[in-house]
C-alpha cells in the first residue's frame, strides 16, 4: 500500500471510524463514502451528512492469499462486498469468524479494527471491518 501521509489518515477518521457518509435530500440517495456532489442530481442535489447503519449482508466474498504490502500478516483474510440495510454497498474485511460461516447472504455488523501496519515508522491505519452476526 501507499505511504499514507498523516493528514490523509486524519481526514478520513469520521468516515472510517463511524461510517459517516451523506445523503441527497433531492433524490433521497445515500452515499458512502460521502460525495461532494450528488452524481444523480448534480447541481440540483443537496447533500447532508448521514451516518450509515452498521448492519448489512454479504453480496460476494473472496479469501485473499496473496496480500499487498502492509497486509502480509493478515493472510489469508476475507474481503467482501457488503450491502448495508439502507442499500449502500461497501468493500470491507470480514473478521472473527469461522471460514464456513462466510457465505453470500450472511448477516454482518461493523466492528472497529486495525487495518494495516506497514512498518514501525508508519502510522497504524484503523477503520471498519465486519463480522458475521450469528
Amino acid at each position: 500500500m501507499s505511504n499514507y501521509a498523516l493528514p490523509l489518515i486524519w481526514r478520513k477518521f469520521p468516515e472510517r471510524y463511524n461510517l459517516l457518509g451523506n445523503k441527497c435530500t433531492n433524490c433521497g440517495r445515500s452515499y458512502f463514502p460521502s460525495r461532494k456532489i450528488c452524481p444523480n442530481c448534480r447541481r440540483k442535489g443537496h447533500l447532508i451528512e448521514e451516518v450509515m447503519p452498521k448492519e448489512g449482508k454479504i453480496i460476494s466474498f473472496t479469501k485473499v492469499f496473496s496480500a499487498p504490502e502492509g497486509f502480509e500478516e493478515e493472510v489469508p483474510y476475507f474481503l467482501a462486498i457488503i450491502e448495508l440495510i439502507n442499500g449502500v454497498r461497501l468493500l470491507a474485511q470480514i473478521v472473527d469468524n469461522e471460514d464456513h460461516k462466510v457465505l453470500i447472504g450472511a448477516k454482518v455488523k461493523m466492528v472497529f479494527r486495525k487495518i494495516s501496519e506497514k512498518d514501525e515508522e508508519s502510522p497504524i491505519a484503523y477503520g471498519y471491518k465486519f463480522k458475521i452476526v450469528e
Binding site: S66, P68, Y77, I81, Q93, I104, I115, A125
Partner: protein, 390 residues
Amino acid sequence: MRSVSIIGAGITKFGEHWERSFRELVVEAGIKALQDAGIEGKQIQALYGGCMASGMFIGQEHIGALIADQLGLNPIPSTRVEAACASGGVALRNAYLAVASGAYDIVAVGGVEKMTEVSTTIATQALGGAGDEETELFFGATFPALYALMARRHMEEYGTTEDQLAMVSVKNHKNACLNPYAQFQKEISVEDVLNSGYVASPLKLLDCSPITDGAAALILCETNLARKICERPVEVVASAQASDSLALANRKSLTELRATKIAAREIYEKTGLKPKDISFAEVHDCFTIAEILAIEDLGFFEKGYGGKATEKGLTALNSEISINPSGGLKGKGHPVGATGVAQAVEAYLQLRGAAGKRQVKDASFGLTHNVGGSGATVVIHVFKAIEGKR
C-alpha cells in the same frame, strides 16, 4: 467524421525482457509499424502513446515526449494517454478521433509497459492504482480480489464453475502456442489451473494474466489516402468508450461490466452490426472471469451462459466465435499500457490473413475490447479489411 484505417502495425515479443529497456521495446514496435506501413517518420503528424504506470515501474514519466524523442519524431505533438489497463485502447481511440476529425491525416499510436524491473509487491501496488485507493486498496483489496468478488457472484447467480473459469485459461494458452509473440508457449490443463493455488478465491494463479514487458504500435491514416498508399488497409469501422464507478462496490451489478454493455450498444447501433456478424474478438481477459463477463456483455452469449459456452468449446479458435485468437492477456501476456494496442495489432493481422497458424478462417469483422481497472473504463473498436492500391 472521416473514415480512418490502419496501414501498419508492429509488436515486440511479449514476455520478461530483463535484457531490454522500456526505450528499446517502444522503438522496436514503432519502427516495425513504420516499416510495415512503408512510410517515412516525417510523414507522421502526431503520436498518442498508452502507458499506465511507468513512474512506478521504471521511475520515468513524460512518456509522450520520450517516445517521440526516441523514435526521432520531434517536434510532432506527442501525448501520453493513461486509463489504467485500457491506456492502449484509449490511446488508439484518441488517435482515431484526431484523424477522423480532420486534424491530421497520418498518426502513430504506441502502447508500452515494462513491468519486470520491480518486485512483485511494487508491481501489485502499481496495478492496484487502477482501483479506488480510499475504499479498496486501503482495506487490502488487490486486483485479483476485485475480480474474485465478481467471479464468486457469477458462480452464485449462474452456476458458473471453477472448472469453466479454468477452461478460459486452457483455451487462451492453446491459442498462445500458435502466436510467436506470446509470452507463454505451453499448453496447460484444467488440472494445472485448479492446482495452481488460490490468489484470491475462487481465482487461482493460472486464472490471472501475468506480469509482462512489451510494446505495440499502429499507424493510422485517413481512409482515402490509405487506399492510395496501402495494399490492404484495415478500416476502424467504429470506436466507443464508456466509464463507470471507480470502486466495484458502487456498481449495481457484480456480474456485468456496465461500461462494456454501453460501449457495445453504441458500436452495434453505429454500425448496424449484430454480435453474430463478428468473426473474432480480442477481449480483456485479465482474469478468466473477465473473459466470461466480456463475451456475455458484448452480446456473443446470453448473460450467465459464458462459462457453459466456454466449456462447450464455442469460443475456441475457428468455432462459433474465436475469442482471443492471439492467446489473450492470459496467454499472450499483459504489458498493461500496450495491451489495447496489441489487441488492435492482432485484429489487423487477422483481417489481412497474416495471423499464421492462429488464423481465423473467413474473418470479416474483428472486435477489440479493452478494460481499465475493474471496469471503470471500457473501450471497444471494430475493424474490417478494405481494398487498397493494386
